[in-house]
Symmetry: C2
Subunit: 351 residues, 2 copies
């Protein structure tokens, strides 16, 4: 070790879902949408003012903020945008969780929460999901420095209803409660309807799943204007220009075609429900997903074996070698054709 | 104050350079390049695979890393990329400055260094520039936890030669030394040539100035592969997907036309030297800029008065209400036409 290496930050290595560059693969491992972005995005690309790229983007992201405010029927001062929901969530952790009391989030949930908590030296506790991978809401009645709930939760795919979320809010009115709704558009009910009633509620969503824009890195938060102002103050203080001009422009464009958005979400839901039936017949069990993925375990064949067997066929799903979930696969819902390939292989493999 | 507001992070409000949306303005306030990006960028935009935006970008940014490695004649494992040099620098502070000894950077320099140091609880000291706004290299011989030098420095515009940088490196072989070269392409000599010799040297540059791509948010660092690996480990741990597909593609494209790059840099340098002469005649003095801006003070008229008078004419320059530099204007070098408007107004105003 060189002397200058002595103070390098030590991190737990994180391995993102594989992004293999094969042409003939079926990629069901990173919860991407199988359908392209709205056609308005293509049109926006054709109209891009390339010479204007020489100038910084609008640091307030005004056009995208306004488009989101229109879409979700809130005021512009209730909307914050960032470079994917990871950026928005990280900024929210940094902004809101300055208490010396621990923040609370489930033991099995999105894997970056504890990473950001450690980064910003935020104490945290992780109440265990029950044996069916459900959040026990009573665990969130304890005194705390903030609450983070992914709803639907990942990778469990379970969505709680709004009464459940409101119960947690009722018990946590003195701290900021973040509801991470990355997958809400696949059949869940958004807590955005509660932001008027609970000024300590921040709802975070992303363009990466339901809006088919993972490649552009766009996320957003909706909440009381006091929360949003605090987020913007912190953002401007640390990095004023994060959203590129093209992210802002394609983001606005992708919000325009509501019918296409609903159509693709419904297609994914329909495919998901069909795949659920087939997988049950094949001996799989899984929570009742309200997301664009299934979190499935097989009655006899270990998940890791299936993961590797699928991979041999260039069918990529996600496998987490972690306690409690190491016999589960997370399978993104692709097109009907992709899911048929996936199911056909399983059928022959398990026969 | 609401109870949940009690633990909100308090930050020093930062006001980015104005981004007014006037059509008839002359914008010399944020050091943008007056010339458009290389024509390859326009071509790349026409070829964008819009349906592929549904997928996450390549987390390794391989194509852009390879293009930068080719451009700067280094290996791919010596290149790190990020969302503008702010993202790269912030990540470098987080990664390398874990010592309990203070890091060192000048009292007058890029205004985000102390912000990031405070954010990551890095102790720091800021040796004062001399009365001519020059860095005193002896100040960096003291024991420290790391060194950050902007070269050319901002907003002073002064560029030191490589012997000067190497002297600081010679005296700091046990800590990471960051040389922030946002403005190096306007007449300075890059320390990239020293990375083979000093494995603790990280050189940071940006596409926002000399490459006319501020709107895309692309920055990069070049250094020893051990430094780059550490940066990537930290980046993957906290946020795996930051560079959008379009940032990667337009970034690669903008590196292709070397002749155009050199031509636009030379045009800006030529304009700058012409403006220097005129401004001297008008009673201004300034360090001998090797950047795309001048840092100028007038012999009799206060900077703030000039700032406001220019603004009345929709000519925007930057004014910092800070100790030692509150009688200076930072004036971006625009096109010849823009600078003529600027100079003509000054001439009549000061007459």
């Amino acid at each position: 070790m060189r002397p200058w290496e002595k103070y390098i930050r030590q991190v737990d290595p994180y391995v993102p879902g594989e992004q293999p560059k094969l042409s003939n693969m079926i990629k069901l491992n990173t919860n991407e949408n199988p359908y392209p972005p709205a056609s308005e995005v293509q049109k926006a690309m054709q109209k891009v003012d390339v010479p204007a790229l020489r100038m910084y983007p609008d640091p307030t992201s005004e056009d995208l903020v306004n488009a989101l405010a229109d879409t979700y029927h809130v005021n512009a001062d209730q909307v914050f945008v960032g470079v994917g929901s990871d950026d928005v969530l990280g900024m929210a952790f940094l902004t809101f969780f300055g208490s010396s009391k621990p923040i609370l989030f489930p033991d099995i949930t999105y894997s970056f929460y504890d990473v950001w908590a450690k980064l910003y030296k935020i104490p945290y506790e992780t109440p265990a999901l029950d044996e069916n991978f459900c959040i026990k809401k009573e665990d969130y009645y304890a005194e705390n420095g903030g609450v983070v709930i992914a709803n639907p939760n990942a990778p469990t795919s379970i969505c709680e209803n709004l009464d459940f979320i409101e119960d947690i809010l009722q018990h946590n009115q003195d701290v900021v409660v973040i509801v991470d709704e990355a997958y809400i558009d696949f059949g869940g009910e958004s807590a955005i309807s509660l932001v008027e009633k609970y000024e300590n509620l921040l709802v975070v969503q992303t363009f990466s799943k339901s809006r088919s824009m993972a490649g552009m890195r766009i996320g957003f938060a909706i909440g009381n204007s006091r929360l949003i102002k605090a987020l913007n103050d912190v953002k401007y203080a640390y990095n004023s220009y994060t959203m590129s001009r093209l992210a802002l422009q394609t983001g606005v464009a992708s919000l325009k075609d509501v019918a296409y958005f609903e159509e693709t979400c419904n297609k994914i839901i329909t495919t998901r429900e069909r795949v659920k039936k087939k997988m049950k017949d094949l001996g799989f069990s899984f929570p009742d997903s309200k997301t664009n993925f299934l979190f499935a375990t097989h009655e006899s064949v270990p998940a890791k074996e299936l993961f590797l067997a699928l991979r041999e066929q260039n069918i990529f799903v996600r496998y987490f070698e972690k306690p409690r979930i190491d016999n589960y696969l997370r399978i993104t819902i692709g097109t009907d054709e992709e899911m048929d390939c996936f199911l056909n292989f399983l059928e022959s493999y398990l026969a």
